[in-house]
Symmetry: C2
Subunit: 291 residues, 2 copies
């Protein structure tokens, strides 16, 4: 960036200063693409940490104060909290402000936000496909979005100039931006993210509960199991909201998955080596094909 030019975003307000919101702030700061970052949240400890780590320049627990004169508002709270936040901040947004989000389910977010948009304020639904199992401002880092995809799901109400700015913002943060229709986003994410998380959570709970011989099985868990179940320690509230708001697409994928798992179990039960080999080969081919 040319230091004599104004930054892309004068004032950024991040509501929910955790891994997702904090990392965006750090990425934009590192690129000189933001003038000031205001953090909003409920936990003062976390906000103080965010300020100490340079994630935000100042903070407030009052969202209506935090959004004052903000050019861009990034909503990074759990999905089910977004509607309330939007209702609360709507009267305090400046004309021309752009609201965007990082929610993992887009239909529910669009429905929760668009009805409350004041005239002259724009909303761009977004979803950066990045994350770790950690949460809180302390987990944020400037390169989280490097070489990741960010999906934007504009609707018929989305302003073209606001969309272009949000696209540019994510590119500056290091992401490849793709656009996708809202419903397609929710189906794709149900398959490649939401289902795998449900599978991992179930796996850890099933193995953890298996104590038939008091063998402390988890104690033996090797590298593979640990890597495999890493995502099962992701933020429970965030995943409750995802499961509830992408219910239909997720249930469809879970049913699809259950059929495959049951087929595999049947082949093991009947000792069908041919079918087992075919099942494992097919999986290996799919997996190898995406790399």
């Amino acid at each position: 960036m040319n230091a004599s030019q104004p930054p892309l975003i004068g004032r950024l307000c991040v509501i929910g200063v955790g891994l997702i919101g904090g990392s965006l702030a750090l990425a934009l700061k590192a690129a000189g693409a933001v003038g000031e970052v205001v953090g909003v949240g409920r936990g003062v400890d976390n906000l103080q940490t965010a300020q100490r780590l340079g994630v935000v320049d100042r903070f407030t627990t009052d969202a209506t104060i935090g959004v004052a004169d903000a050019d861009l508002i990034f909503l990074a709270t759990p999905i089910l909290a977004l509607g309330d936040v939007m209702r609360q901040i709507a009267p305090h947004l400046k004309p021309g402000a752009i609201v965007t989000d990082g929610g993992s389910v887009k239909r529910a977010v669009v429905d929760a936000i668009e009805p409350f948009l004041p005239a002259g304020v724009h909303f761009v639904p977004g979803h950066p496909i990045a994350g770790t199992e950690k949460s809180g401002a302390e987990a944020a880092f400037a390169t989280l979005y490097h070489n990741r995809r960010c999906i934007l799901t504009p609707t018929t109400h989305t302003d073209a100039a606001a969309l272009a700015l949000v696209r540019q913002m994510w590119q500056i943060a290091g992401s490849e931006v793709v656009e996708m229709e809202v419903e397609k986003h929710d189906r794709v994410l149900a398959a490649i993210s939401h289902l795998p998380h449900m599978v991992a959570y179930s796996l850890v709970n099933a193995v953890g509960a298996y104590d038939r011989y008091e063998e402390n099985i988890l104690e033996y868990s090797a590298g593979g199991f640990r890597d495999f179940t890493r995502i099962a320690s992701s933020d429970p509230t965030m995943w409750r909201d995802i499961a509830l708001t992408n219910r239909e697409a997720l249930l469809e994928m879970m049913t699809q998955y259950e059929r495959f798992f049951a087929e595999l179990k049947q082949d093991i039960d009947s000792g069908d080596g041919q079918k087992l080999l075919a099942f494992f080969q097919k999986s290996k081919q799919s997996r190898d094909a995406i790399l």
Copy 2:
């Protein structure tokens, strides 16, 4: 090692020169703990690669020749091939030779090998808990077993001196050696390794087959999904044999897992946020506790 002392193992014969067998050979060579390594396999290309990479010093496709005068024979073929290999090599083993293996299921291996042991030849059932999704001699590397656990499952027939030598061998390769009863090993591994693999294979197949809207869903798979399904590209033949030979313990774990997954699905279907939160929190606690 003191260069003036003879190595722990004079001649090592590795039957099945892939990731597991090849990496043991490289680890022992790196430590100066082996005099000569003879590789045995069916694929000449792979054996030539192994020799070129210094994994083995020489090779043969004839196991009866390969085991001649070997002090230690490491069986690293898929489990269902072990019985045939043992029958074939038994008459050619020198008195005092030690046979050990790296199979992921121990009851089936013990039953396949112990009946064919000639007098004066010892068998130590073993299972190094290590691996990657890659296979073949090219995938082998000397540090695969560093800081990994190796489980030995001696039976009432296991010779104490042979057990001590195999223990020492794995320690030299960098592993922490633990002993476990055969049936316990198979239950623990069903839970922490075999079940997770079945889950991953099913997940990749379910997502890969979900093409209802021709959306090329796998194309969007992000870091999380890739990590999660990495193990679904492990060697299909090896996993067929594991599924068939640890059938009972694996089916029990699969049934346990199905119950948890069905419970989760039910909670999503009924929109029970409290139960979902509890489910995800419990998983996070279990997972965090093992780290």
